[in-house]
Symmetry: C2
Subunit: 356 residues, 2 copies
């Protein structure tokens, strides 16, 4: 199996730590390494290091190689521009097909998510890749929800059909982010899963779906494989890639695919979508405080999050806080209640360009 | 008249801006200059520069001369140790008597308070000095309260007696910091005033009170004046000063003095006792935010205080705050609700020595 990490994301929800030229996948939010290095390590343990590829933009190449010294530079697949996940997956699938053939199972993984229990993750990935190898299906992982989350899309499995020996079932529907009532319903229903953006397929299968659903994508796909074999890939890619619509793989392919299966997954997972999500991925102390900082002095503070940029000698001090987030970096400090963590974008929007 | 600024205070309530070696009087909280320089400027306008003295400890001499380049170093009266206000005022009174005679009115002023309307302040000080010159009294300024403040001591004027032509009345009582009910009563009563720690007296009068109430102080006083005249002041001071009890002028002298008068004062005043007091001394913007910082980005924030150390290039950003204080200095950031600003001490108490 080949693992492909999509590292095209940019984002502002982790300002002031993440910036335009240092998106979330390249910051260290928790653990020892930056997010994408943690993802790489986790996958290298499942498929072995030489079977991990990374898709990213030109501007991140150097930073990614710095962050993952063990990555073979030949395994960086560089997008000429950021065009959402469908073009990125097309590019990855075409390169994998040219290098490894159209039958090898490919797993697509976001670069900046949290995953706990790596052994459980490994066995789940192994199961999904078995299904993708055997069936002519695109396989997705469905995370068992642990709360009525309104920030994720959901996957409903086909309850008419019993799961196969790998636990996979056909997908009945992909469901948009719900409101709270719906989310509560999904949680108690038992057959709705969080869509974690992880997909498994053989290049042949994905190519077939492009042919059926996105003829231009299919044409570009074939041209890229051909160019790769001819040694003209670098010349052909930029112009052909620009022709692809900026569209997500969910809209372009998944929702209309002939056969999609879901493997229910029980490992802890979070997309770590904003600062307050550190609650989901870091251990809190006895007062409910998450402290990812060297020098912190708290008096009568609970259920709050403190983050200081690595290597910082600055002290964060707080008195009488409840449910707050304080982020301290070299050149900025951010303070907000946890339930406003989604609104960091409003700050970034008002910043001068050089501070974004 | 001679103006004496007491700059002996140390304090932690403005951590992380104020530190052990840079107490509140030497920080710039608002306006263009550090607190003691603002006090010096204000008094120089009332009594002229060459009539202003400053009492401070050895460790602050250099910083004070840096902060007030216009100060004649000969006008620094250096305490051998910090022993509260009674010994400091004794020292000042003895030096003034030796230099200027026992009849010149002396005004004592804290170094780190806020005073608005400088012309009104000047005329009030002028009135108090007239009373001190004429009567054998110690004169104090009583600030007309504008709210039921529980953080200040109060002065009750003698309501039996009509004010004299300078507005002064005898003092009936000095009253400790009240609870809220008492404070409300004092506010509506109309004859209670805030004790702002400003006193006016002739050295002769103060000496007489020392003789009556604190015989050892009287002895030291006379020895210091004598030593000054003999040119042995520097030799005599350290040993004699150490013999003085660490006691405030209120307890040692004011509460038991034979004649104490109060001049009601209408200029805006605050002792700026903690970070939240910036509300009282700085203008707030339309959302009620006080911003003493260069780079601040706020989204949906009201009634909060943002302070950044002078010259800082760091940005303070906040989302969804109400009634909070954020202080950012070179090596620390402090976050707390306004109503917890008194508790900064708890933070300082837990800091390693080198960060206090």
């Amino acid at each position: 199996m080949i693992a492909v990490i999509l590292a095209g994301g940019s984002g502002t929800r982790f300002w002031p730590l993440s910036r335009k030229d240092r998106p979330k996948q390249l910051v260290r939010l928790f653990g020892q390494r930056v997010m994408i290095a943690q993802t790489f390590e986790r996958l290298a343990r499942v498929v072995s290091q030489e079977n991990v590829y990374i898709v990213c933009g030109e501007h991140l190449v150097e930073r990614i190689l710095d962050a993952i010294p063990e990555l073979d530079p030949e395994h960086l697949i560089v997008e000429p521009s950021a065009r959402n996940t469908a073009p990125a997956i097309l590019l990855a699938s075409a390169v994998i097909e040219a290098r490894h053939g159209a039958d090898v199972p490919v797993g697509i993984f976001p670069s900046d998510h949290f995953i706990g229990k790596p052994e459980l993750f490994a066995s789940t990935v192994e199961a999904a890749s078995q299904v993708a190898r055997r069936e002519d299906a695109i396989v997705t992982l469905g995370i068992s929800p642990t709360r009525p989350e309104t920030g994720y899309g959901y996957i409903l499995r086909d309850v008419e059909e019993d799961p196969d020996e790998h636990g996979s079932s056909p997908v009945d529907a992909f469901v948009e982010k719900p409101n709270v009532e719906k989310a509560l319903e999904y949680l108690s229903h038992g057959h709705y899963f969080w869509n974690a953006g992880m997909f498994f397929f053989r290049p042949m299968t994905m190519k077939g779906e492009f042919k059926r659903q996105e003829p231009l994508f299919y044409e570009v796909y074939n041209d890229l494989v051909h160019a790769y074999e001819q040694g003209t890939f670098a010349d052909v890619l930029p112009q052909r890639f620009e022709q692809l619509e900026k569209i997500s793989i969910d809209y372009a392919i998944m929702e209309g695919a002939q056969e999609v299966r879901v493997v229910p997954s029980l490992f802890p997972w979070s997309d770590v979508g904003h600062w307050a999500a550190l609650d989901e991925v870091c251990d809190a102390n006895g007062e409910g405080n998450v402290i990812e900082a060297e020098r912190v002095s708290l008096h009568d503070v609970k259920d709050s999050i403190f983050y200081s940029e690595e290597g910082s000698q600055r002290r964060i001090a707080a008195v009488g806080l409840d449910g707050m987030v304080v982020v301290d970096t070299r050149d900025a400090v951010l303070v907000m209640p946890k339930d406003r963590a989604q609104d960091v974008r409003a700050i970034v929007d008002m910043l001068p360009d050089d501070e974004r």
